[in-house]
């Protein structure tokens, strides 16, 4: 698995918001069939990096390679066309719609001339949930408002992988979940990897990270501190990297280089 080429590779990415340098020469990659955790303290640049990959905003400099070809992602549509799907922390589900309607939102199937093809969408939704071993839903016609936090996360993930996606980015998938539901979601994350998808998981919870991740990228103050193989490192090492990792460039904070 470690021999496969990265499907998504970002090199020397920089991005600034006005005077604030959010990312400086960041390198990041993920391979098919692996879970790459992306960790870092608040303000380390995790979200900025993810939003750039998802096409929410563009990077100032650096290159993104997808499947070996350099690509330019200008908007969310470009990212979706490549097969990059992001599951945001707030999940972006419409509570008042049922599971099927949410999974197909914006990409509904139509029976010409204009009738929604509910039967076909229902079948596909069930198939996708099956393939992810999501079995806790009573019915795909339940409204999302009736679902538990873990079930919502599952629906949001299923929605993301439904579209032949190849890279799935999960933003804090276990935040705000109880123990049992966290387990359920982590199992789902592993299932995605086992299906050969490239999974990027942003998390603050190192316990969760070590449970599922194959590799861990640590960002600190907008720079890549290091990329670690999960089995070959420890929580202490990662915590140290997050809080005091060695930086190449320290804008205006030269003293911290030796910290």
């Amino acid at each position: 698995m470690a021999d496969t080429q990265p499907i998504l590779q970002c090199s020397q990415i920089s991005k600034s918001y006005g005077a604030v340098q959010a990312l400086t020469n960041v390198d990041f990659e993920v391979r098919p069939g692996e879970i790459m955790a992306l960790v870092g303290d608040n303000g380390a640049g995790k979200s900025t990096l993810i939003k750039g990959i998802a096409g929410i905003h563009s990077f100032d400099s650096g290159t993104i390679t997808f499947d070996g070809n350099e690509v330019h992602i200008h908007n969310p549509r470009d990212a979706a066309d490549l097969g990059i799907e992001v599951v945001y922390q707030d999940l972006a589900l419409a509570d008042n719609l049922d599971v099927v309607a949410n999974m197909f939102l914006g990409r509904e199937r139509i029976q010409p001339p204009l009738r929604l093809d509910e039967a076909s969408m229902e079948v596909s939704a069930i198939e996708t949930l099956h393939s992810l071993s999501v079995t806790t839903l009573q019915s795909v016609r339940q409204k999302v408002v009736e679902l538990s936090g873990g079930q919502r996360q599952s629906v949001a993930v299923a929605k993301a992988v439904m579209w032949n996606s190849r890279v799935v980015i999960l933003d804090e998938p276990t935040a705000a979940l109880g123990v049992a539901q966290t387990r359920q979601v982590l199992e789902l994350v592993k299932t995605l990897r086992d299906k050969g998808l490239a999974v990027v998981m942003i998390s603050h919870n190192l316990h969760d990270v070590f449970e599922v991740a194959d590799r861990i990228t640590v960002l600190r103050l907008g720079q890549t501190v290091g990329i670690y193989l999960a089995p070959a490192t420890t929580q202490q090492e990662i915590v140290h990297a997050i809080t005091a990792g060695k930086l190449e460039h320290v804008p205006g904070m030269a003293a911290e280089v030796e910290a």
Binding site: P76, R77, Y88, D90, A92, L93, A94, D95, N96, L97, D98, A101, N102, L105, G106, R107, E108, I110, L114, R115, L116, E118, A119, S120, E122, V123, I126, L129, H130, V134, T135, L137, Q138, S139, V140, R141, Q142, V145
Partner: protein, 407 residues
Amino acid sequence: MNDAPEVSGQVDVAETKSNTFSEHVAGYLTRLRRGDVGMLPILLGLIVIAIIFQSLNENFLSPRNFVNLIVQMAGITVIAIGVVYVLLLGEIDLSIGYVSAVTAVFMTLRLREPDSWPWLLAILAGLALAALIGLTQGFFITRFQLPSFVVTLAGLLVWNGVVLLMIGSSGTVVIQDSVIISIANYFLPPLWGWIVGGAVVLFFTLGLLNEVRIRRARNMPTVPMGIIALQIALLALVTFAAVYIANQDRGVPLVGLIMLVLLVIFTFIANRTRFGRYVYAIGGNKEAARRAGISVERIRMIVFMLSSVMAGAGGIILASRLRSVDTASGGGSLLLNSIAAAVIGGTSLFGGSGRVVSAFLGALVIATIENGMGLLNVSAGVKFVVTGSVLLIAVLVDAITRRARQS
């Protein structure tokens, strides 16, 4: 009157279980216990109201009054259909009362001699004007992100003024065109009443069976045939009873048929098309809709246009019923009754929840109260107090059952 069949949601993700008649009934009872009461409270409320009025005045449940009721409620129902869509977005449209009047007055003035327009052209011109008004209001709401409350409040004032300006000093303009008068004053001959009733039942039978056929073709569980037969029998009973009663008097009102067709069309749009799905999605979670690639502002704009057009259509019906328009057109309690109809019928003011049929149910409640009070010769003050109380009870029932659903 007839909501399109719900998408049956009986598919289990883990395994598709067979659906028998008794299981289906049990499922319905479970939903009731969970607080998912649907139209039940309002139907019970209507029965209670009918019993009260009948005991106070024996003419209430007469064929004559039944036909009157249909004619009285049609205008508000049609306006309230537009209100449902606006409320589904979580928005409000306060301009509908006077937009309905602007449309009706504009149409009526086009019919005036000597150079009167053909009736169809006059109606279409009126509705086109309504669409333009909705487009303008929608433009300000979406382009500048102004609250719909304020933009349509401004509209309320502006269109009230326009009505006065258009009518001028004449005070009242009488409608001469016989076709336009017959919109609200023509009654189907008895035989045609039966034919139309039969067509309605046939239409829904075919619709339900088509649903079953599609799901069977994909090996998906379907609503049991027993339930479908029950639904059709119930529908046939209600439809033919209505036709029979109406035929005892003047016959089925044409405007009742127009109302029914509009209800069916807009129920289909809300439940079975992308546009309808997007309206619900925006009302439920605007950000989710945006991220899903839905052009939120375009949908909102279309809904405000729709709201104005439905208001215009309702205005034409109201004008036809009165055979005239005057400086008071679109005023009074029309706006509040139209919004109250949608809300009493079960559409939430907070967006994302409600059905087109609630326009009909709420308008039926309001028209029933007005009609019954009219028979009792009570003052307008009592009418308002009772209607207001019913509105409060309706939202109270909704809030309580909602809480039961969520806990």
